[in-house]
């Protein structure tokens, strides 16, 4: 079974909680996906407001583990403080660390990411860094104490699917023992199946499910695709060949003329 920071996780789908049409639809999608981990965030509460409380209760009722993020943080200090505040609220050392470097692509600022990861590991956090598919950055994150890596496969929310399969393949080959979770850019179940076939350990999704016409049906479709890709990877897939190979044996075939 997949283990993340020593915690066994029975589903290889991690699901974001944002952008659903309603809290009820979110709850349905979480249940139907079978996910055991959902990502959550923190925002300013309005004075006298109870916005956060309702969401907090909903997540509690779902009985899943939370992975708080530092979404929207553009500096190391912002990300570190947000992580600490998230730990206060959610009582978990897990943090999905995002340090955003570019407004349009939401590309991680990998320099800030490594620095923030080092600080947070020193503070006892178990860091899930949202990173690129760059191997050197990945090395630095592991040096900083990260035990899980979460490379993007395309920009957040883009639904483009894997844009650089060879980079993802190289990452899997370089870090055979590190749990690798593709985070961001997945649009369709086939994208998720593809990265699972490459040997990735899990997939983190949000918009592809939340933005579907029927989010809970899509959550289930993704869960199946992820399982299928994982099973296929371990079943030993055939490589492609240039020429046709008959699947029906030709030996013993009748000769009629």
């Amino acid at each position: 079974m997949l283990e993340l920071y020593g915690t066994p996780v029975s589903s290889r789908l991690l699901l974001g909680t944002a952008r659903y049409p309603s809290p009820a639809v979110l709850a349905q999608a979480v249940r139907r996906s079978g996910t055991k981990i959902v990502t959550v965030s923190l925002r300013r509460e309005t004075a006298g407001g109870r916005n956060g409380g309702a969401f907090f209760e909903l997540i509690r009722e779902l009985g899943v583990r939370v992975l708080p993020n530092t979404a929207g943080c553009h500096s190391v200090s912002e990300a570190v403080l947000t992580a600490k505040m998230a730990r206060e609220v959610f009582s978990t050392n897990w943090i999905k660390l995002e340090v955003i470097g570019h407004h349009d692509t939401l590309q991680p600022d990998v320099f800030g990411l490594v620095e923030a990861a080092r600080i947070l590991v020193g503070e006892g956090f178990e860091v899930f860094p949202y990173t690129t598919d760059d191997l050197v950055v990945a090395e630095r994150l592991l040096d900083a104490g990260c035990e899980v890596l979460m490379p993007w496969c395309a920009p957040i929310g883009s639904a483009m699917g894997p844009q650089n399969l060879s980079a993802l393949r190289a990452m899997r080959a370089h870090f055979p023992d590190v749990p690798l979770i593709v985070d961001a850019g997945i649009g369709r179940p086939s994208h998720a199946a593809t990265v699972m076939e490459l040997g990735y350990d899990a997939v983190l999704l949000n918009t592809a499910v939340a933005g579907a016409a029927d989010p809970s049906a899509m959550a289930e479709a993704f869960a199946k695709a992820i399982e299928a890709g994982h099973a296929a990877c371990h079943a030993g897939m055939l490589g492609p060949r240039d020429m046709a190979v008959p699947s029906t044996p030709v030996i013993g075939k009748a000769v009629f003329s």
Binding site: T17, V40, S41, M85, V89
Partner: protein, 65 residues
Amino acid sequence: MTLIVNGETLESSAATLSELLLVLEFEGEWLATAVNGELVHREDRRACRLSDGDRIEVLSPMQGG
């Protein structure tokens, strides 16, 4: 004194962070607080004295990806 709470400037006579939260009707175990960029733990809010110009952040859970 003047305080900046979640980016909004306001006048308050609250002496401590816990007093301020009470006055502004922030309640709930799900809140996290920071003053001038430093986390203030739940149990330290009562002892956290506020000064003119302090920047206070009060955050709560929300949906995220």
